[in-house]
Structures are given as structure tokens and as C-alpha cells.
């Protein structure tokens, strides 16, 4: 059993209430933190080696130390709970089951950053989680853990939850800030970065739910002890949302560094492939990271066992590797059609593009249509080359990373499964899984 830091108490009945949460050591980190200097907390987070759990894996301590601190200007902490990447559902689990862990993390982090107003921006579809969070915040206010003079420390904090309207793009941090300001959720051009000019043009830190929750055990155990967990620069534990053709889909807390093979096959985690089938491919970190075929997800190109860590999953670059991303681990068995899977992803990115910049606005729809054509058995070999060319003209040319998020899955599917696209072109009758194929079409006609 590997160590659990975030989900160690998630099975306890009533842990979503303040009373039970406190009985199990809740808000002890806050007490400890309020006795520390804010800079000392930032120092602990730096020492912990914690990296952003929202996808990019940027070192959190470093992000915090970049926060500009001009005199007389408020600073803000914003928690990114927009979680909309297909395959990712870990933040929801955490907020739903242990809402106080996030609230405690928000208070500790806000104190460390010197913010007196903080926000949790939650995706529109999570409205029932909104109620859970609001209840937890209410309890915290009543117990003097929020509001004026928290636990007699002289520190004031107001915490608000703001619900989005169901747009994936509002998870991109600057689009999130626009939306939070009440505007259309269009990503901003960077620079300036939020650390200098964020919410209402004030210095702002945006962090993922899991990142903020991880601050609680870091303060509890100390940065060095946290850094002792995990492997290399991938310190601590990570929540993985496991889905797809596995026996036990769900949210798992792993110590970073668990071998991918163990994660997929051991009974502690996914419990192997459903119905005794063979593994075909894995999308390891949410829909935007490159898909890898079985031989490359279990072992690196050099033949080393692949581990669940930022470095190991990234080994080989995009040619033979992928990314840990947000930890959305999607497993596909031997019967899966990569072309159809790609169509699903591409449809999503087309639907979610904000439309500000031309390559993403026009390119995502174009890619979707080309893939649909191939999927329908009407494609040509030239279409496959065109698809490659279109994705290459989006990547790196857009305002925000949604362009890349849309281009990478296409590039990876073509890189590792080109033969499958060619099969659809040369032999349209071979389209397997007819049932699902027709269901898709019927849905579209309806």
C-alpha cells in the first residue's frame, strides 16, 4: 500500500462535515501555518517540490514566489476547479468527499500569499459540488476559520465560490480570470502573466484544486518530508482519474513513481483490462496528451519500465513519450478504434474553442471534419496527410494552449496508429464495432 496524503480519510462517514473533519486532524495545518511567517510557508512549499496538478506541472513554490507584491494593491488566490478535460474527474472527487481539505488549503495558501479575498472557480456542470463547497465554507465561517481575525491570528480572509457556465476554455487560467470578472471567457494574451496582472489587474495566483489541497499535508509534515515521497523531481502523491476498459475505474491516489504496468494490472489500482482483453493504448494525462500504444506506455523506447511520474511519462519526448498532464488516465483495449476515439476528442476541441484566434477557430473544425470523413469510410490517403499538415499549422501558433491540446492528440494518433487510418481508407468495410458506429450516426441525425 503506498502512502496516502489527500484521500487517507475519504472513506470515513461524515468526513464532509467540519466536525468529523476536525476530529481526524482537520485544520491542524491551518493552526500551524498561522503561527508561521507567510514567507516560511512559501519556503516549505518550495522545499516540497510540489508541482501544479492542473496539467502543466509547473513548480508551485516557484509560481508563488513570482507573485508581484506592490504596496497598496490587493493580491488574489484563485482556485481552478473548472476540471473539464475529458478523462479527468479527480478534483470533483476531492471536493465532493473532503470539501474541507480544499477550504483549509485555500486558507493556508491565501495566508502564505497575503491574499485577503480568494475565489474557487468551479465548472458549471458541478453545481451539486458547489452546494457542498458552500456548506463547508459556511461551517468554516461559523467556526471562525474564515472571515475576520481567523483563530485570533489577526488575519482576515473571505472565500467565495463562483460557478462557471460550462465552458472548457474557462479552465485556462486567464480565460478563467476574465470569466470571474464577469466577462466572456476569452484567454488573454501573455505576457503579462497573472502573477503580475491577474484578477482585476492585480497580482494573482491560479492553482488547481489538488495543488491547493496538497499544501495541507505539506505544512503538516514539512516540505522535506513531502519531497521524500515520490521519485526524483516528481514528489509527493498524485490523484489519478482512471477510466476506460479497466476492471476498476475510479480515482486513485498514487505515490508518484508507481510503474504504469502495476497501476494498470494490480488489484490495488485499475485491476487489469476488462473482460480479459489485451491492452491497446493509453491516454495517460487527460485527452490532450499524446496517446501511446501498449509497448510504449509500459516501457520507454529504451526498454526501461515506464513509471507514473512527470519525467518517466515524458521520456522520449513526443516521439515515443507523453505527459502526466492532469492525471486523466484513459485505458483502451484491443477492440478500440483509435480513429473513432480521435473523432470524439476532436469534436470536443472544436466545440470548446473560444474562437479568438484563426488557427484554432478554423483548424479544430476542419480536423474534426476530415476525421469524420475518414471514419465514415470516405477518406483518401491524401486526407491523412492533410490532417497531419493541419495539426502542424495549429500547434504553437495560437493564443492559448487549447490549440496544442487539439493538435497533439491528432499528431500522436497519426504517429502511432497511422496504419489504422489507412485501413479505414483502403478497406472501409473493415470498420468494426458496427453497433457503435451506427449509434454515433443516429445521434447526429437526431
Amino acid at each position: 500500500m503506498s502512502q496516502k496524503l489527500l484521500l487517507k480519510n475519504d472513506h470515513i462517514p461524515g468526513i464532509n462535515t467540519l466536525e468529523v473533519y476536525r476530529k481526524h486532524g482537520g485544520y491542524e495545518s491551518l493552526k500551524k501555518a498561522l503561527g508561521m511567517a507567510p514567507d516560511a510557508i512559501v519556503e516549505e512549499v518550495k522545499k516540497s517540490g510540489l508541482r501544479g496538478r492542473g496539467g502543466a506541472g509547473f513548480p508551485t513554490g516557484m509560481k508563488w514566489s513570482f507573485l508581484a507584491k506592490p504596496e497598496g494593491v490587493p493580491r488574489y488566490l484563485v482556485c481552478n476547479a473548472d476540471e473539464s478535460e475529458p478523462g479527468t474527474f479527480k478534483d470533483r472527487y476531492l471536493m465532493e468527499h473532503i470539501p474541507h481539505l480544499l477550504v483549509e488549503g485555500m486558507i493556508v495558501s491565501s495566508f502564505a500569499l497575503g491574499a485577503n479575498t480568494s475565489y474557487i472557480y468551479i465548472r458549471g456542470e458541478y453545481f451539486y459540488v458547489l452546494r457542498i463547497l458552500e456548506k463547508a465554507i459556511e461551517e468554516a465561517y461559523a467556526a471562525g476559520l474564515l472571515g475576520k481575525n481567523i483563530l485570533g491570528s489577526g488575519y482576515d480572509l473571505d472565500l467565495y465560490v463562483q460557478i462557471g457556465a460550462g465552458a472548457y476554455i474557462c479552465g485556462e487560467e486567464t480565460a478563467l480570470l476574465e470569466s470571474l470578472e464577469g466577462k466572456r471567457g476569452n484567454p488573454r494574451l501573455k505576457p503579462p502573466f497573472p502573477a503580475v496582472k491577474g484578477l482585476w489587474d492585480c497580482p494573482t495566483v491560479v492553482n488547481n484544486v489538488e495543488t491547493i489541497a496538497a499544501v495541507v499535508p505539506i505544512i503538516e509534515m514539512g516540505g522535506d518530508a513531502y519531497a521524500g515521497i515520490g521519485i526524483g523531481k516528481s514528489t509527493g502523491t498524485k490523484l489519478i482519474s482512471a477510466s476506460g476498459h479497466i476492471n476498476k475505474p475510479g480515482v486513485y491516489e498514487i505515490e508518484l513513481g508507481v510503474p504504469v504496468e502495476e497501476f494498470i494490472y494490480s488489484d490495488e489500482y485499475c485491476g487489469g483490462i476488462r473482460n480479459g482483453k489485451d491492452l491497446k493504448a493509453v491516454v495517460a494525462g487527460g485527452s490532450s496528451v499524446p496517446i501511446l500504444p501498449k509497448h510504449l506506455i509500459l516501457k520507454t523506447a529504451a526498454g526501461e519500465p515506464r513509471l507514473m511520474s512527470y519525467e518517466s511519462l515524458g521520456d522520449g519526448g513526443f516521439a515515443t513519450g507523453t505527459m502526466l498532464g492532469s492525471g486523466g488516465f484513459i485505458v483502451m483495449d484491443e477492440d478500440t478504434s483509435i480513429v473513432r476515439n480521435l473523432y470524439t476528442f476532436s469534436r470536443f476541441y472544436h466545440h470548446e474553442s473560444c474562437g479568438q484566434c484563426s488557427p484554432c477557430r478554423e483548424g479544430t473544425g476542419w480536423m474534426e471534419r476530415i476525421i469524420k470523413k475518414i471514419l465514415d469510410g470516405k477518406g483518401t490517403l491524401a486526407d491523412i496527410d492533410l490532417l497531419w499538415d493541419v495539426q502542424s499549422k495549429i500547434e504553437g501558433k495560437t493564443i492559448c494552449p487549447l490549440g496544442e491540446a487539439a493538435a497533439w492528440p491528432v499528431a500522436a494518433a497519426l504517429r502511432h496508429f497511422r496504419h489504422e487510418f489507412e485501413e479505414y481508407v483502403k478497406n472501409p468495410q473493415s470498420i468494426k464495432d458496427v453497433r457503435h458506429y451506427y449509434r454515433l450516426n443516429r445521434l447526429e441525425m437526431a
Partner: protein, 345 residues
Amino acid sequence: MPIVTIDDFQIEVPEGTTILNAARMIGGDLVPPAMCYYSSLKGSGGYCRTCLVKVEQGSAKDPRPMPKLVPSCRTTVMDGMVVRNETSPEVVEARAGVTEFLLVNHPLDCPVCDQAGECHLQDLGYEHGKLNTRSEFRRRTFEPIDIGDKVKLHMNRCILCYRCVKVCEQITDGRVHGVIGRGDHAEISTYIEQAIENDFSGNVIDVCPVGALTDRTFRFKSRVWYTKPVEAHRNCDKCCGKVRLWYKGEEILRVTARKDAYGEVAKLENGEAGWICNECRFEKKKTSDWVIEGPAHIDDHSVISAHHYESPEGERFGDEKLEQAALPHGEKVERGVGALNPNNV
């Protein structure tokens, strides 16, 4: 003051100058095309990505190249920066890509579009695009909308450059104009077709790089290359009163603001943009309303200047050819001629 090198030309520019404006100070072929940036609109630029350039050297202090192509309209120059525009194959390729993207959903209804001849998308396609389209799918379509009685919106032609949105935000008072929807279905809207009733709303026509926002009082009156631009002014208590009149014979067919070499509304002596009011634009169509200054300068950018375009085989199109190539119906365009979708007209 920082010194920047663009396509091997060096120039010293004031602190805070963008790469695009530095290039414009040098002039000529090394100026990147800009479909969304507009110097007199704050916060414009960054959207269309036609102005992407390669930064080979970030600055004298930090000579590393920038990893991605950057939008020249929103990137400030640093001392010692080395930039490549058309001399970088990567930029040429990316720009052809962006041009192709801008045309994926464009109706290509130039034969019935009032903007034809002064459309920046036509120029972009001609100068940076490829000969053939590779997109074979249905284009997204919208119905044309009247925004008030003076402005027509053909959303099909819009490239979502956000210039008109910024005009409404910055130079008219109440903001009743914006973007609704997302992705390639996003559209310019005045919140359910509310007319923009404002003295300066007509300027959205001048900033629109394509034929998405056009002047209803000029609708189908003439191709622009048959009209003669003349500079004129009048005493106006709302705006600067400095305009360009577009004559055909004795008749003023339309009134616009004056434009500079980059197609932007020209700056006045005080450095501010010479926006004009709706009264000057739509109501003053008699020669006696105006003090005529003389013929407008026509630069090479305009099709009104002969020899702007050449055929793929290198053939030049002069006035004569253009006239022959013009529609057989003369100046009056029939409904539906050349349009892919009759609703576009």
C-alpha cells in the same frame, strides 16, 4: 533606445515599440500583414495570427531565440532583437497556413461583395496564400443582418478580428455590440440585432478588414475601382469632418474616413485617429456639403491603382483587363451572381 534588426534591416525605435510598428517604420516588404491589429484601438491585435514572425535572437542580453513564432503586433522589441519576417521559411509557411484557415469558412463571394477591391483578405490571399483550397467541406453560414438602417452585417465573411467590437467599446458610448457564441460559430452581434444608435457607429465599416460590415447606402452602387476618391472636409461639430468622398461621375456614392498606407483610419495632426460621425458619413452626399481638397493619394496597396495584381503566370492586370473582367451587367450587380449562397446577397 532599442535597436532591432528585421529581415537584416536595422532600426532604432522608441522603448515599448512593437515589432510590427518597428517594421512599419522601416516599411516595404518586411512589414507583416495585420488583419486584426489597429493602431488606434487599444488592446487590438493578437487574434488573427497573420503577423506571426520568427524571433531569432531575443535581445542583446538574452540572445536565445524565442521557441515559438510570436505575434509581431503584440510583442515589444528589445535591444539587440533579431527578427525574421518573409526571410524565414517557417514564417512563410505559417502565414500560408493562417491564410488558409481564414478562408476555410469564408464564402468567397467576392463577385457580389462591396468590399471587393479594398478587402484585406483578398490581398492576404493574393500575397500569402496558396492557389488552391484544400477544404472541401460545407462552410458555416449565417443570414445577413441589418444593424440599423445604415450598416449591413454579413457574418459569413467575418474573420472575428474584434476590431468592430473595440470600436464600439472605445469610441461609441453604450456598448451594445460584441461577440456571442464560441469557436467557428462565434458571431458578431448587437445583442439580438439591436441597432447601434450612436453618432460614431459607422466607423465599424471603416475598421472591418473584410466585407462583413458594409455601408447600406453604398450597397451595390458600384465596384470601388470605378469610383474616384477625393479628399474633402466640412465644419462638423461632432467629428473632425475630414473625409474621403468616393465619386462616380458627379455623384458622391459614399463617404469614408481617410485611410493610411495600412488601411487604417488616418491619424490627425494631434495624433488621434480621424474617426468620422454618422452625419458626415451617411447624410452628406452632395458636393455642396463639402470643401474639396483634391484627389486622394492612392498607394500600391489599392486595386484602384492599376497593376496591383498579377495572374499566377505573371500577367499584369491593368485597367483595361480589369474592365473586361468586370461583371457583364456593368455596374449594377444582379442578385445572386457568383454567390455560393443566394442568401448572401
